[in-house]
Amino acid sequence: MAELNIDIAGLKLKNPVMTASGTFGFGVEFDDFFDLNSLGGFVVKGTTLHPRQGNAYPRMAETPSGMLNAVGLQNGGVKYFAENIYPRLLVYNTNILVNVSGSTVEEYIACAEQINELDHIAGIELNISCPNVKEGGMAFGTSCPAAEAVVKAVRKVYNKPLMVKLSPNVTDITEIALAVEASGADSISLINTILAMAIHAESRKPVLSTVTGGLSGPAVKPIALRMVWQVSKSVKVPVIGMGGIMNATDAIEFFLAGASAIQVGTANFIDPMASQHIIAGINNYLDRHNFKSIKEIIGGLQL
């Protein structure tokens, strides 16, 4: 049994497998399936200052080896989260992160301040990359000045680990990563979904109510892997990789590319046990290759 524990800039993970925001509900929905404490951590749903109804149905389109979503950050708002969801999370003994979004810097700040009060929340994953909301969202993640502004502002009010989640919808992801690092991010997670579109040929209508949505799943894995590699070579803070990870082999690829931890997203829909199989598979890989610790393969790509 190799060592799986890893420290992500203050977040102590028992293993490098987390689950991704928007694909894991508030965690509690998985109680029937497995013991959540087996995870390195999980990131709960995108949370905003004010409640959001999200976008109209249909919000989902299946695509080759992937899917589009246009949920649009449906959530009860941070107050609702603190009062109604947070108490239910106290039973878990793993790292719980809240994924925070906003339309303005002020909203991000106000939301982060409230989460700062929640002792059992290990950190924030700052979502500057959601393609499914009209204002803000992705815009913060596609320009360096905007990314800097929001990260700096949140950094001021939030004392615990701050993970910043990048948008892949950019010409040069390393630029944004460097900007975010310089602005106080403790770690960087990527990728969020890729802006995409589906059309129903027979009805000649867009499949999604919002016309465009975010692509996730195995289809994006090669793109995510490339970006994780580029970013982890550019920044010093730890990188958390995601995008189409379905099994342990995929996860290993991300570690080799430079990720210190990974998040399992869309795979949860195909198999709610995916994260469990991935943890077991990573263990198996390390043993087979005689590695003593996950740390030995992080960035271990042989060029």
Partner: protein
């Protein structure tokens, strides 16, 4: 029964007509208390163009054999591949999922209205309503007589009526053209329906007009099936609700379907 991911063995696959198949899937885990309207989310691993699981109503439960039945109508890659499952294969199934139909508290006269493959959840419903001795009328609609399946089994639980668009079986027209939707409708305590959305909306409208309770089972597209992706929402009086966990069965009063 707690939801779980199971590998179920295909113990039989009966072809009912050119596009309907009935699968019997045996579980290793003891089945208990599955409700009509609950569904199973099945992985399709033999079709190149299918990525997500496909949801199917639990058509029937055989607690003696510890198996569930799934009625599949082949309409696309996923349903066609599953309808060709071979006996002996295993399928990865997440079940039971969602909230089922509710049962009347007192002895009632109920109408079950199914359209197309929307008849699927009604078989288990009819079975369980019959066990509580409710008076059951069953109205099944399809395009043609050939598209009507399992009429014999439905007849075990109630009086079966049919409508077909081409008039080849029963009343010609849509389900709402059937005499049951005339003056008699008021005599029912509750209507249960499942089928294409336009059909369910028409049924709901008439239920409203006649002040009859009515539960519908929605078929929104789903990614997860257990409440974590928020993709399957429907507009309700309480805002967006997930069809997979708050439904698939809804009381029409919860939905904004009045007009």
């Amino acid at each position: 029964m707690k939801k779980s991911v199971q590998n179920l063995k295909v113990v039989s696959n009966q072809r009912l007509n050119k596009d309907h198949a009935l699968l019997e899937l045996k579980s290793e885990v003891l089945l208990e208390g599955i409700l009509p309207g609950q569904f199973a989310n099945i992985l399709v691993d033999k079709s190149q163009n299918v990525f997500l699981r496909r949801p199917f109503s639990i058509f029937q439960v055989d607690y003696k054999c510890n198996s569930i039945f799934i009625l599949i109508k082949g309409i696309g890659g996923g349903t066609r591949a599953l309808s060709k499952s071979l006996v002996g294969e295993t399928l990865s199934v997440i079940f039971p999922l969602g909230r089922g139909y509710t049962f009347p508290e007192k002895k009632s006269k109920v109408l079950l209205v199914g359209g197309g493959v929307g008849i699927a959840p009604l078989m288990l419903l009819a079975t369980m309503l019959k066990q509580s001795n409710h008076q059951i009328e069953i109205l099944l609609g399809a395009r043609t007589g050939e598209d009507l399946v399992e009429l014999g089994n439905f007849a075990k639980y109630g009086t079966v009526h049919t409508t077909t668009e081409d008039g080849s079986h029963g009343t010609k027209g849509f389900v709402t053209n059937h005499a049951l939707f005339g003056d008699e409708l008021k005599s029912f305590d509750r209507i249960y329906t499942c089928g294409p959305e336009p059909m369910m909306k028409a049924v709901a409208r008439l239920a409203y007009q006649n002040d009859v309770d009515c539960e519908v089972s929605l078929e929104n597209t789903m990614a997860c099936g257990y409440g974590v992706c928020l993709c399957c929402v429907t507009e309700t009086t309480g805002g967006h609700r997930c069809v997979c966990t708050d439904g698939p069965v809804f009381d029409i009063k919860q939905l904004k379907w009045q007009n």
